[in-house]
């Protein structure tokens, strides 16, 4: 794999994480438990879709085959998506959505913070922009884990279930493959394993305060970064890509 190919893969991962999680959050629009939450989830989704455009447009430039963010988002099949398994998991109840968000936001924050120092200036400036937004995402998702964990018996039970169920998808965030290693060598991206300790620290202190039990390290489900996805991604793409598949090049 050449340096350019590795960079393209890396940018797809960044863009696809934002795209798929942004799409998942947009599914809540009109269905949230309260108007404020409907607005908040839609706004976080909007931030993530905005970041998607920046990452995938850059990916298209690096690839040099004339694909832009829209073509990459709408005209690839599941096998070509590079997002983490975590972000494609179904919304479930509100606790599951917030636990997924907290796991992801804390990792996303740490990753973007390191990417602001990337030797690739384009990556550094997109990361600096996104980091400001993700800071608010993280504050908010942490607040919900605290409130639901240390809330009623019912909310505690649901948040504990969510934290347990999603745990096996967190291991993949800290594993490096040849793409990540190439980025480390070129000073473009951080060593993902270095994010694990600060991430775990925030998980520990938050679950303690929320009277939740942090799951033990165990089996990590993996594959998303290489295009091996759960069955959920296909359904997301059927929804996300329907219009462009049925009416190619439609615009509005």
């Amino acid at each position: 794999m050449s340096g350019q190919e590795a960079l393209f893969e890396y940018l797809l991962r960044l863009g696809d994480n934002a795209l798929i999680l942004g799409h998942r959050l947009s599914e809540w629009c009109g269905h949230s438990p309260a108007l404020e939450e409907d607005l908040a989830l839609s706004n976080v989704a909007l931030d993530l879709i905005g970041q998607t455009q920046l990452w995938l447009n850059l990916a298209g430039e690096v690839e040099g085959k004339g694909r832009d963010a829209d073509k990459l988002a709408y005209l690839r099949d599941a096998r070509d998506f590079r997002n983490l398994l975590l972000v494609e998991q179904p919304n479930g109840d509100f606790a599951a959505t917030m636990a997924r968000q907290f796991y992801f936001d804390a990792w996303h924050y740490l990753l973007l913070r390191d990417l602001t120092g990337s030797k690739n200036a384009r990556i550094a400036e997109i990361a600096a922009k996104g980091l400001k937004e993700v800071t608010y995402h993280l504050e908010r998702s942490q607040e919900w884990v605290l409130r639901l964990g240390d809330g009623t018996e019912e909310s505690h039970r649901r948040m504990q279930t969510a934290v347990d169920d999603l745990w096996m998808y967190t291991g993949e965030m800290f594993e490096s493959d040849e793409v990540d290693q190439a980025m480390v060598r070129e000073g473009i991206g951080p060593d993902l394993s270095s994010l694990h300790e600060p991430w775990l620290g925030l998980m520990r202190s938050t679950t303690d305060e929320a009277t939740l039990t942090l799951p033990q390290p165990g089996w990590a489900q993996r594959g998303g970064k290489r295009g091996i996805h759960s069955e959920h991604l296909g359904y997301i793409l059927a929804d996300l890509q329907f219009l462009q598949r049925a009416y190619p090049n439609a615009t509005w």
Partner: protein
Amino acid sequence: MTSSLTRPDVEQVRTWLEDVPDPEVPAVSVMDLGIVRDVQWSGDELVVAITPTYSGCPATSVIAFDIEAALRARGLDRLRVERRLSPPWTTDWISQEGRRKLEAYGIAPPAENAGGPSVFDRLLRKPLVIACPRCKSENTARISEFGSTPCKAQYRCDDCLEPFDYFKCI
């Protein structure tokens, strides 16, 4: 075509841009918000650089269009609006005049400078006190970290009982 004799200087152009309102918060101009990062002549073409407030802000393309339309109405026909991502927009760039207009419009302006402590430290800190833009009471509570647009949070005044928007720091 604009010749170097007739082309307006950039200060004049900046003054014209003071009249272009933000599409989401029309009480303030694109200049007040610090969205316009640069105005300069490149030969006989005017280049206006703008920066998005948030990456997904749908108003950015409307702002580019409004700026172009406003300047064409002033007789400029060779101009280009370009998007600039770096340095990323911060609420610190909102002018004093902009802050005053926001408050008069009922939106509490940003209460502190951006770029403070990292979020891991901030998560341990007490929430900010935001004064009600209507009655100035500090007895307010945050309802949600996000409001009608990504740049705002929702608050409630516990004295005059009115809800209000807060323009949060980034």
